[in-house]
Symmetry: C2
Subunit: 173 residues, 2 copies
Amino acid sequence: MKRFAFLLVVVGTLAGVVASLALASGHAAAPIFGGTLPPGYRDWKLISVAHEEGNLNDIRAILGNDVAIKAYREGKLPFPEGTVIARIAWDYVPSEENNKVFGRAQSFVPGPAPDWYLQFMVKDSKKYAATGGWGYAQFNKDGKPADEAKLKTCFPCHEPIKARDFVFTRYAP
Amino acid sequence: MKRFAFLLVVVGTLAGVVASLALASGHAAAPIFGGTLPPGYRDWKLISVAHEEGNLNDIRAILGNDVAIKAYREGKLPFPEGTVIARIAWDYVPSEENNKVFGRAQSFVPGPAPDWYLQFMVKDSKKYAATGGWGYAQFNKDGKPADEAKLKTCFPCHEPIKARDFVFTRYAP
């Protein structure tokens, strides 16, 4: 067991070094996660939920990797390196089947995926120093990443919430 | 590794048998989970989210234990024995801090916990045969379980959705 665990650590560390070298030599604006979805994000723990009205008109869940959840629960700010926050949004639609049972229009649930289906914030203070230490990514329902022009609109919107390390979502207990 | 995994399976199975015996010998109307919160539910994976208008006026997350998540992802109905579905509800409140950034009232987030903060459905076809094979539980923010009269209102409301094994929530991908 111990030898196996040690091997894992060594391999993990080497992989990290290789990845860091690759990142350091790459262009600063390279897409986070190499333009693919971070594996397993749909299994992450829940941070909170929200409804956005207006043009977005979506209902959303905010999930976090283990680093994110630990920091949230301990109230730790700024978020540690390696924090990843995932935001899943669905069109905000009435549930006809629920409302039929309740006898009134009361229940709103997730519908189809909008263009801004998946968004991620990744904490890497060095790599993303120009945007408050966070990298931003967006994917549509087909896993296609948003283009660079789109992603440039992320940080200006998050900038006013600098006092909470640029993160809007609070933890819902 | 293998021996350790085997031991875990054996211990897990024995624990299950002991728990089943304890349940079988208990009174049918005994509160599920023995009137206490199921440990670790806040770490469970996300099934979906919803907003209920009207008297409830809450925003909610629906989580599932591993049995529930597997069944949902495989589209399996009825839900297998041991399925537990958790519903966390928070008062539906506007986020002043988010809205200040957006320049308009657009963002709604979880507020304080209402009386119906936590609800659970537990699948045990024998124990809860009288209520479609599901036991129901509710807890307030202090972990206090709802009284029996309150819990008797659960099943009549879920009964119309029998075709989906009495479960309203669909999985949000």
